[in-house]
């Protein structure tokens, strides 16, 4: 094979992998840029029409989306039931704040533990077979928890009305509101983003990508595929659980919709539109969707979801790599023109 063949065979758009010692620095640079954008959000976000509080919500969803991308983008498993983890965790947080203590730490810890257990159970039931099966079953399990919350457990959850009367969440005497809450979420978002990146680039992340690429080969290469799948699923569930818990701290109320398939659908849409497997893309997807829903929707009124649905379909059909891929293509085109 001649060297030009090799260049042709090497697809630059799928790269982004770097071998070498400059990696650590690059990793930190990305993180610093991300932190800068995040921390200054209260300054620039109102300039583009965002209201205060929406920025917090965006970051919460960004955490949800980046964790979801670890599952979808890396292992290729498409869950339609992640609202279960988001919602269960939200309810546990709400109940803990209401009945145990208004301190958020025990509430968050309890939420994450319950999420973890739930993810293990659901994962074992759904991950043994193919991805199609998984998508269907996660959708069903999600709906099961929704039904549970609005019917069977309504004495605890408040049924359709949701869980109300949750006191203002506190962190050791600090009211978790407004900017305090924003920075609390921002710090967590940066940490979770960093962890996701580390996972993505570690051998563990490589195994997850291998699951997406060819499970059979992986199993016959001595890898316990089910354990990797289960771990990836649990990790992404924890991200969802953290987001759910934060959502209740942000707004001390648990809506039963937190458990609905629409909520699962939202994180799917964000992740796919942002760019599956890129981690940054889905976080931008979260920003885009909430911005669209809350700011742009003023122009579109009730039809914003219709427009969003059409955009989503267009992206799946024509730009499966999402915004991240679109940006990359655009960048390549611009820089090529710059060369000439």
């Amino acid at each position: 094979m001649s060297s030009s063949d090799i260049k042709a065979a090497y697809d630059p758009s799928a790269s982004g992998r770097r071998v070498g010692s400059d990696f650590k620095r690059k990793d930190l640079t990305t993180l610093a840029v991300f932190a800068l954008i995040t921390f200054t959000m209260p300054l620039w976000f109102p300039l583009i029409g965002g209201y205060s509080g929406l920025d917090t919500k965006i970051l919460i969803w960004a955490i949800f989306a980046v964790g979801f991308d670890l599952l979808l983008g890396y292992t290729g498993y498409l869950s339609f039931g992640h609202a279960a983890f988001f919602g269960i965790s939200a309810y546990i947080t709400g109940l803990m704040l209401l009945h145990v203590s208004d301190n958020i730490i025990p509430a968050m810890i309890a939420s994450l533990i319950v999420t973890l257990i739930m993810a293990l159970i659901i994962g074992l039931l759904t991950l043994k077979r193919t991805g199609i099966y998984f998508s269907i079953l996660t959708l069903a399990f999600g709906e099961m928890f929704h039904s549970l919350a609005v019917s069977t457990l309504q004495d605890w959850t408040g049924g359709d009305n949701g869980l109300t009367g949750v006191p203002t969440p506190m962190l050791f005497g600090l009211k978790m509101q407004n900017l305090t809450m924003f920075y609390f979420v921002a710090v967590l978002a940066i940490i979770m983003f960093y962890i996701a990146r580390r996972i993505g680039r570690s051998p563990f992340g490589l195994m997850m990508k291998a699951i997406k690429s060819n499970q059979t080969r992986l199993e016959y290469t001595g890898i316990n595929v089910l354990r990797y799948k289960l771990s990836a699923f649990v990790i992404s569930a924890i991200y969802a659980g953290l987001a759910g818990s934060l959502m209740v701290i942000y707004e001390p109320y648990v809506a039963s919709e937190f458990l609905s398939w629409q909520e699962s659908g939202r994180v799917v849409i964000m992740t796919v539109m942002g760019g599956v497997g890129t981690l940054v893309g889905p976080m931008f997807g979260a920003f885009f969707m909430l911005y669209f829903e809350n700011v742009v929707s003023v122009l579109l009124q009730e039809q914003w979801l219709l427009v969003l649905g059409l955009m989503f379909m267009a992206i799946v059909i024509f730009l499966p790599g999402g915004f991240a891929d679109g940006a990359k293509r655009l960048w390549n085109r611009v820089s090529r023109q710059g060369d000439n």
């Binding site: 065979a9 563990f204 195994m207 291998a210 199993e219 890898i223 316990n224």
Partner: protein
């Protein structure tokens, strides 16, 4: 000393006896070919060995340990690797990553959660992966994605994936199918070198008799689920039963 001991293995698909009382034993360090007409049950036997299929009866022992009931990844970790009849690689990953996965499986076992290492830069694993790529002649394309490879190259990559794990028993299901003549010869040389250097035991399923005779010390002939002949290449060549098995197929 035999490293693999298959005895009285049966496997039925519905009414079809794909394997019937198969006894099959492979000497450590040898290259052992398994031949037979299409549909004889060769792949089925390999499937039983690697844990893909559960036999209906009989025993399979590798290095004195039973393989029955073990998961495919456990069997692989014990040192049994397989090259599939249709090449199985990781099409979306680079060649280097393809091999590195096997390196990590070798180093870390079936599962490890470790955030503080970067997959692309872990020195011993990556260096070893490069060495293996060199060995199978794919080092120049190390950064290409495996999907771009030709069928023959995919097979060599898959061989590389298996080698990176340094298996004690390597099962190859038609390793030269889809390869051009000169590629076939390179592969024969490669397998012969590996066998000479590492004393790795190999079981080769092959239709190409030139490959079989160039490599094997022992040949077993499978037809309609039964071992009908076994021995040195010369002996098997002259065996009338073997001729009949192959001719019988052609008459169909």
């Amino acid at each position: 000393m035999s490293i693999l001991e298959v005895s009285q293995v049966n496997k039925n698909f519905g009414g079809l006896a794909a394997l019937h009382n198969v006894n099959f034993s492979v000497d450590e360090g040898s290259i052992h070919s398994l031949i037979g007409p299409n549909g004889a049950g060769k792949s089925t036997l390999l499937n039983v060995l690697v844990g893909l299929l559960k036999p209906d009866g009989g025993s399979v022992e590798f290095d004195g340990k039973s393989l029955l009931g073990k998961t495919p990844h456990d069997i692989n970790q014990l040192g049994v690797a397989r090259v599939f009849q249709t090449p199985q690689v990781f099409p979306d990953l680079t060649l280097l990553e393809n091999i590195a996965i096997s390196g990590y499986a070798d180093r870390d076992g079936g599962f490890k959660f470790n955030l503080f290492e970067t997959a692309d830069t872990a020195k011993p694993v990556i260096n070893n992966a490069k060495r293996v790529l060199e060995e199978v002649g794919l080092i120049e394309q190390q950064k290409a994605e495996a999907r771009h490879l030709s069928r023959g190259d995919k097979r060599r990559l898959e061989l590389g994936i298996c080698l990176a794990h340094e298996p004690r028993l390597l099962l190859l299901d038609e390793p030269t199918a889809g390869m051009a003549r000169h590629e076939t010869e390179t592969t024969i040389d490669l397998l012969r070198n590996i066998s000479a250097k590492t004393k790795m035991t190999m079981v080769i399923v092959e239709h190409d008799m030139s490959v079989v005779f160039a490599l094997s010390e022992t040949i077993s002939v499978l037809a309609q689920g039964r071992i009908i002949a076994e021995g040195k290449p010369e002996d098997v060549k002259g065996d009338p039963k073997v001729k009949e098995a192959y001719l019988g197929e052609e008459q169909e």
